[in-house]
């Protein structure tokens, strides 16, 4: 029960951070928000009895992927463009 509540809580956070990532003007924040989202997902995997996946997601999805995004940001710009 608590676990379900936790999952729902994390889920809401994840969706919110996804929407935030898409709407924020600050690309750095957007990347970090997606990183957090990944991290939360790895926790959920752990809860779902998938430790291998959780580890992979944490290390690759949340960790290295975010770093790669950040490097990409550093080599371009962190300013957003206008959406129509």
């Amino acid at each position: 029960m608590i676990i379900t509540a936790l999952i729902i809580l994390m889920g809401v956070t994840m969706v919110v951070s996804a929407v935030f990532a898409l709407h924020t003007k600050n690309l750095l924040m957007a990347v970090i928000a997606v990183g957090i989202l990944s991290l939360f997902s790895s926790i959920i995997y752990l809860i779902m009895q998938a430790p291998d996946v959780a580890m992979t997601e944490a290390a690759i999805g949340a960790g290295l992927s975010t770093v790669i995004f950040l490097y990409a940001l550093r080599r371009t710009t962190d300013r957003d463009v206008d959406d129509d």
Binding site: D52, T56, G63, L64, V67, Y71, R75, T76, T77
Partner: protein, 240 residues
């Protein structure tokens, strides 16, 4: 306006499709055919405790080889895109923002530098531990490789001017991959088929040296993945 309507239409349509999936979703009540087989026979066939590892390395070994190839390809592609030729914005007359050069890159703080010097080898060793124990405990080549790569990230952060020994990286990358393929070939020659890990004895359940060649293969995967990820990171980091 039309575009927004279309986007809304698309989202509504897929939401509806997903809703259909959610309402019809019953979840698994038991293991399916092949899952049952893996769980039941996996131990005696391969002797690996971590069935996910058994699947990844052996049963679906070709997938994993492909996966490694994908990573390899991505690294090659990134290397090709970012490595070849000079990255000059003048070609198209771009203006503001952009690339940093050596001057703008700040030196890391002393604490970080010192701390990382201690932590990086430890993390790397942890990574090795993860892939060596892949057949016993959660984790394996990918996770271990990623951990090793994180160690290098830390190194990059603490030593902004650190430059990797590309030769070593390249040799690791090449050899681990080639040996991986070679082991697969051994499986084809000595055991039941390509990537069959049983050309080495299955051994005693639960030991490090058990489960045939799974630990060896997974370790090679770990090295390979680590090398590729580091290569990718290095390419992404390098401001030309």
């Amino acid at each position: 306006m039309i575009k927004r309507a279309l986007i809304f239409l698309v989202l509504a349509f897929f939401a509806w499709q997903f809703l259909l999936m959610v309402t019809g979703w019953e979840g698994l009540s038991g293991l399916g055919e092949i899952a049952r087989h893996y769980m039941e026979k996996g131990r005696e066939e391969l002797g690996a405790a971590n069935i996910v590892t058994a699947i990844v390395v052996t049963y679906r070994g070709l997938d994993t080889l492909g996966e490694v190839s994908v990573l390899f390809l991505a690294a090659a592609g990134i290397g090709f895109l970012l490595g070849a030729g000079r990255l000059s914005r003048k070609q198209d007359g771009g203006n503001a923002g952009g690339l940093e050069n050596e001057k703008t890159r700040r030196k890391a703080s002393e604490i970080l530098e010192t701390g990382s010097d201690i932590v990086v080898p430890a993390i790397a060793v942890f990574g090795v531990y993860i892939f060596v124990n892949g057949h016993l405990s959660p984790g394996g080549g990918f996770q271990g490789g990623a951990v090793i790569a994180s160690a290098i990230v830390l190194l990059f952060l603490s030593h902004p001017f650190y430059s990797l020994n590309h030769g070593v990286l390249k040799v690791t990358e090449s050899l681990s991959g080639t040996v991986y393929v070679g082991l697969g070939l051994l499986g084809l020659i000595l055991a039941g088929g390509f990537l069959d890990a049983r050309f080495l004895p299955v051994g005693e359940f639960g030991r490090i040296l058990s489960a045939g060649a799974i630990p060896v293969i997974y370790s090679l995967i770990g090295l390979k993945v680590g090398a590729e990820l580091v290569g990718i990171l290095e390419q992404m980091r390098r401001p030309s």
